[in-house]
């Protein structure tokens, strides 16, 4: 069987596994977004103890490998959770591990964006009588979220690629299924090349979509045009 015939024959299984990859990615990016935005706000506007705590969280998750964090969630925590009567599935472990990691990075992106908004904006918002919280909600965040799109796009691309780490917790995502097929067919190199190609295509499509999103969300004068990769 030639390469293309072989690639065609394993494609259905791989595409099926790709769905799992996309589930992990979307789950972790959403979790990371929700946690990340609170981390960022806590880090910028919170009282000192909150700033320290959120800072410590971010430092820890950015300073250690994602794989180690994933192993903690999958192997380290379940004994404790079991004593509380909580079971954790491989999918949940992957989403929580990747999501908590992503939160630390997303928090840093948000913080950078929030801090790059001129202090005059906050002052102007307070001067028209908005409370601090409402000023953040109606003036700072809408600007910050637009500014953050380019780095957030990078984060999403990163999440797609690093969803492959779910391989280590035996989740049937793209890389893990690739390994299974490689073992069955003994055409390891070809299998992994097809796997790599699928990741590449997803990454290219998502980059393109995000670029279009960025164009649509653009407001004249806010932020500088960024080269997209």
């Amino acid at each position: 069987m030639g390469f293309f015939a072989f690639a065609w024959s394993i494609l259905p299984d791989l595409l099926h596994a790709t769905r799992m990859t996309l589930w992990i990615t979307s789950g972790s990016i959403v979790l990371g977004f929700l946690v990340g935005i609170f981390l960022a706000l806590g880090r910028v506007y919170g009282p000192r103890p909150i700033r320290w705590l959120t800072g410590g969280y971010i430092q820890f998750f950015r300073g250690t490998p994602l794989l180690v964090q994933l192993l903690v969630v999958y192997y380290g925590l379940p004994p404790y959770l079991a004593s509380l009567g909580i079971q954790i599935s491989p999918l949940a472990a992957a989403i929580i591990g990747l999501g908590l990691n992503s939160a630390a990075y997303q928090a840093e992106y948000f913080r950078g964006a929030v801090q790059s908004i001129q202090s005059g904006q906050m002052m102007a918002a307070r001067s028209v009588g908005l409370s601090r919280v409402r000023a953040i909600r109606y003036v700072i965040l809408p600007q910050a979220l637009r500014l953050v799109i380019p780095s957030w796009s990078n984060e999403l691309i990163y999440s797609i690629k690093y969803s492959s780490l779910a391989y280590f917790v035996s989740l049937t995502e793209l890389t893990f299924v690739g390994k299974k097929i490689a073992l069955h067919t003994a055409r390891t190199f070809e299998t992994y090349v097809v796997v790599a190609a699928i990741y590449l295509v997803i990454v290219l499509i998502v980059s393109r979509l995000l670029w279009m999103l960025e164009q649509r969300a653009r407001i004249p004068g806010l932020g500088v045009p960024t080269e997209h990769r």
Binding site: Q59, F60, R62, G63, T64, P65, L66, L67, V68, Q69, L71, V72, Y75, G76, L77, P79, Y80, Y105, E108, Y109, G112, S151, N154, E155, Y158, K161, Y162, S164, L165, Y167, F168, T175, G178, K179, A182, A186, R187, T188, F189, E190, T191, Y192, V193, V195, A196, Y199, L200, V203, L204, R229
Partner: protein, 231 residues
């Protein structure tokens, strides 16, 4: 308590050296390959630029883990090229880092204002001279902060080499906890993973501190060298 000390000793003596060696090797390989690629991308002929661009896209778009599997199991089982696991990891992650590093250097070279090259040429310098004594010294300074980020992600990605059995920190950690797991009701899985994480944290801190020191020593007024958050 003694179990913890023994585990830590095992991690530091049989795991840490491989992690450090692999990290240094990857940064070196990535630099040796990434720098010329960046150079060709900015100053090279058009076909070269496309080629380098494609190279960058390719190695940045494929997950590190998949690259490692391709260069180890893939080469071994499909072509009978049986590389030591360490070598496979070095090649796979090194190619990947070179793509990221070339992007860093390209950005730095391109962020040196055009007027600098023009002023150098106006003095009578050749293009090569201008690149060497005007553009590169500025570009290299500008690339320290993003390069610090690259160091940190390369260090963390070495943990993926555990997938093909390279006995580095993470692999050593899993080996230890599969052996002892629970002793007298203590959950050693978590304890050992936290030890592993702490060793990585210390490495990250030391590397970042060293590079920050380098950045300070090379600091020149007028160079804004604020690190951007990247991964």
């Amino acid at each position: 308590m003694s179990t913890i000390w023994q585990s830590l000793e095992l991690l530091v003596t049989k795991g840490l050296p491989t992690t450090v060696l692999l990290t240094l090797g990857l940064l070196g390989a990535g630099l040796a390959l990434g720098f010329p690629i960046a150079f060709l991308q900015v100053y090279g002929y058009r076909p070269f630029r496309w080629l380098c661009r494609g190279y960058e896209q390719l190695f940045r778009g494929i997950p590190a883990l998949v690259l490692i599997l391709i260069f180890h199991s893939g080469l071994a089982r499909s072509f009978g090229i049986l590389l030591p696991a360490f070598t496979s990891a070095l090649i796979a992650l090194g190619l990947r880092s070179s793509a990221y590093q070339s992007q860093i250097f390209r950005g730095a070279i391109q962020s040196v204002p055009q007027g600098q090259m023009m002023a150098a040429r106006a003095l009578g310098m050749s293009k090569l001279q201008a690149i060497r004594s005007i553009i590169l010294p500025q570009a290299l300074r500008l690339s320290i902060p993003p390069w610090t980020n690259e160091f940190s992600s390369v260090l963390k990605d070495t943990s993926l080499a555990s997938a093909i059995g390279v006995l580095e920190l993470t692999k050593q950690g899993t080996l230890i906890f599969t052996r002892i797991q629970f002793v007298k009701g203590v959950n050693y899985i978590l304890v050992i993973l936290i030890l592993v994480a702490l060793v990585y944290l210390v490495l990250t801190y030391m590397g970042n501190a060293g590079l920050a020191l380098l950045e300070r020593r090379l600091r020149i007024p007028g160079f804004e060298m604020k690190g951007k958050v990247e991964r």
